[in-house]
């Protein structure tokens, strides 16, 4: 009941004309970057991050969150109309969405994707409203030792669920942690890897690094790709789905929402995994599984709902624990820190405007997206027709100005260019840079909690397995390591078995 009252206060914050305008801007920009291949929510948020510095914290966070879920909506449009996923979580939507578009049913596919996204997004915000305050209350009793284990656990989950080779993800996590050590030591102010440069005392700036790693590198990779896009243009009068479509998609949307919400709290690429799981579940439960891959509407509805349901639940670790579960929330964390707001269990009591304003804005933003996206689908599709010769130079110019505007320091431009080149090379050779960013954001806190825990215990390492919270997190860590080792052992035995069979 108390949460309901505070949510109403959040609506009072979110529904001011200024916050509504920035929420709308975030949603529109998010839809655009979600649609444009190469520019996902990460690059979209990183590019606009510097422009939020003049705003108050609640407005800045509301706009950035709008970009996040706007991109989730936008990604589905290019998947359906051009068979090119605007962002990773829309890959599954390509399969049946584009098949429907080829059969002249782009309209129903777009409507079901938009409605699925709206329902998934809204239900996950309801979950966030209910569970976040309860979890925050519990987390207030967690000490530095348990906090350290929790953050290590979060990073290991990222490594274990990554799509590429785990050793590469681990290397990226460690590189992020190594970069986080640059600057003055957080407890003794001893300069580490600063080489006497004052610019490095505060560490490597997050904004130019993230714009370089995600924005610039993505553009460079896109320049290496060839091939023009030929999106299918839907007609507005063909938008409405028929009764059979609605019957098939309604339960898929419900199941997708639950799957997305549950997966969203897992660190890593949960929003991508949830779409694949939802697709598999729909195919398994369908009476006509042979239609999947040929334009089954449930294959669009479920994954789209799941994809958007992760946006709300992935906010839970960020807002309640101060741990970004996915790279997008790492950028939100960075924005909050820049504005003097530290996410964590005390966020609700210290900054109720930011916390409840953000949650309320997510209800409003999801509704805005539903109302905007369908009538304006033609306008958004025309973005795909802007020639690369105009789009790419303009985006690079925005990157340049965005980075410079933070500190009016040309060193930041160098960091952006350098990290852009490094990110380009990493991604070209299969190293995912997202874990690097997560580790960079958490590096400081991992070190501080580790050293504080030892300080409090007088150097007794037993502190890491004492206390209820530490025991729970340590058990989860042990289970995770056991499952991973077991899967390695099974994989090794299978490979040896195959080798023996082929020799025999």
């Amino acid at each position: 009941m108390e949460s309901f009252g505070q949510l109403l206060h959040g609506f009072a914050v979110a529904l001011t004309w200024k916050n509504l305008l920035y929420c709308l801007m975030g949603c529109v920009w998010g839809t655009a970057v979600g649609m444009l291949p190469g520019l996902g929510p990460l690059a979209g948020m990183a590019l606009l991050l510097p422009l939020t510095f003049g705003l108050d914290p609640a407005t800045a966070v509301i706009m950035l969150a709008g970009i996040f879920y706007g991109a989730m909506y936008g990604g589905s449009t290019t998947s359906i109309l051009a068979r090119i996923p605007g962002e990773a979580a829309s890959v599954v939507t390509c399969i049946d969405g584009h098949e429907m578009a080829k059969k002249g049913r782009a309209g129903p596919a777009l409507v079901v994707a938009a409605v699925g996204s709206f329902v998934g997004g809204t239900l996950s915000v309801v979950g966030l409203t209910l569970f976040a305050p309860m979890l925050a209350d519990a987390m207030l009793r967690v000490g530095p030792a348990a906090e350290f284990i929790l953050m290590v656990l979060a990073l290991l989950v990222v490594a274990f669920v990554s799509s590429g080779p785990m050793v590469k993800t681990l290397a990226m996590l460690l590189l992020g942690l190594a970069i986080a050590t640059i600057g003055l030591d957080p407890l003794t102010a001893w300069p580490r890897f600063t080489y006497g440069a004052i610019t490095l005392s505060d560490g490597i700036a997050f904004v130019p690094l993230s714009i370089g790693l995600f924005g610039v590198s993505e553009i460079l990779l896109d320049l290496d790709r060839r091939g023009a896009m030929r999106p299918i243009k839907p007609r507005l009068r063909d938008l409405m789905p028929n009764a059979r479509d609605l019957r098939q998609s309604a339960p898929a949307i419900g199941r997708g929402s639950v799957i997305g919400f549950l997966f969203g709290v897992i660190p890593g690429i949960s929003h991508v995994i949830s779409t694949f799981v939802s697709y598999a579940v729909e195919k398994r439960l369908s009476k006509t599984p042979q239609e999947f891959g040929q334009g089954a509407i449930a294959g669009v509805a479920g994954p789209e709902a799941a994809n958007n349901a992760t946006t709300g639940s992935s906010m839970i670790p960020l807002l309640v624990l101060g741990i970004p579960a996915i790279p997008v929330t790492a950028i939100l964390l960075s924005a909050m820190l820049i504005h003097g707001v530290r996410p964590g269990p005390q966020l609700i009591s210290d900054h109720p405007n930011v916390f409840w304003g953000l949650i309320a804005s997510m209800y409003v933003g999801n509704l805005l997206l539903l109302l905007l996206n369908l009538p304006l689908v033609g306008v958004f599709v025309s973005l795909l027709r802007i020639p690369r010769a105009y789009l790419t130079p303009s985006i690079l110019l925005i990157c340049l100005v965005g980075v410079y505007s933070v500190n009016a320091n040309v060193v930041d431009i160098w960091i952006m260019v350098g990290s852009g080149i490094v990110g380009y090379l990493f991604r070209k050779f299969g190293f995912d840079v997202a874990p690097l960013l997560l580790a960079l954001v958490l590096g400081d806190r991992i070190e501080i909690s580790f050293r504080r825990a030892l300080s409090i215990s007088g150097g007794d390492y037993a502190v890491f397995y004492q206390g209820a919270a530490a025991k729970v997190f340590l058990s989860a860590l042990s289970v995770l390591l056991f499952v991973q080792c077991a899967s390695w052992a099974i994989g090794y035995r299978k490979r040896s078995g195959n080798r023996d069979t082929s020799i025999g």
């Binding site: 422009l51 050793v167 590469k168 290397a171 580490r192 290496d224 790419t392 130079p393 431009i413 260019v417």
Partner: protein, 150 residues
């Protein structure tokens, strides 16, 4: 086939760089105060991270944990190479020649490279784009940019 072996070479080069970086971090951390068990100093965390980073780099180099076939890596394309050079040049020129001139040249060169069309179109795009960007960022949004430079 050639692209696959280029992929493996690139992967190995990055792994070697990570291994080297790990060793360097360990070496640098060993010159920092280590503190005690009760009060760990600034060396402890970078030292541990450096060791693990070197191990991870070594493991990739040895091909451990790299399941499945190698991906394909197209060589650095002309457009991407030009974009890198233009960005680096913009970083050098930004405060020396001013934002407006940097914007104009940057847009012109990138447009000319990507459009492969007549140069006057690129010039028009460069000048109009620079003026529009200046008006938007410096005038409307109030971003402090280095002087016009013309």
């Amino acid at each position: 086939m050639r692209e696959r072996s280029a992929y493996r070479r690139g992967e190995a080069a990055i792994a070697a760089a990570l291994l080297g970086l790990g060793v360097y971090v360990v070496w640098s951390a060993s010159a920092m105060p280590a503190g005690s068990l009760a009060q760990p100093g600034p060396a402890v965390f970078p030292f541990g991270i450096g060791v693990l980073l070197a191990v991870a780099g070594g493991a990739i180099l040895a091909g451990l944990g790299l399941k499945g076939p190698a991906g394909e890596a197209a060589p650095l394309g002309r457009d991407a190479a030009v974009a890198i050079v233009v960005l680096a040049a913009a970083a050098v020129a930004f405060e020396r020649t001013g934002a407006l001139a940097t914007f104009a040249v940057m847009l012109l060169v990138l447009h000319f490279t990507l459009a492969r069309g007549p140069w006057w179109k690129s010039m028009l795009f460069g000048l109009a784009g620079a003026a529009a960007a200046w008006a938007l960022f410096a005038r409307v949004l109030g971003v402090g940019l280095p002087g016009p430079g013309f």
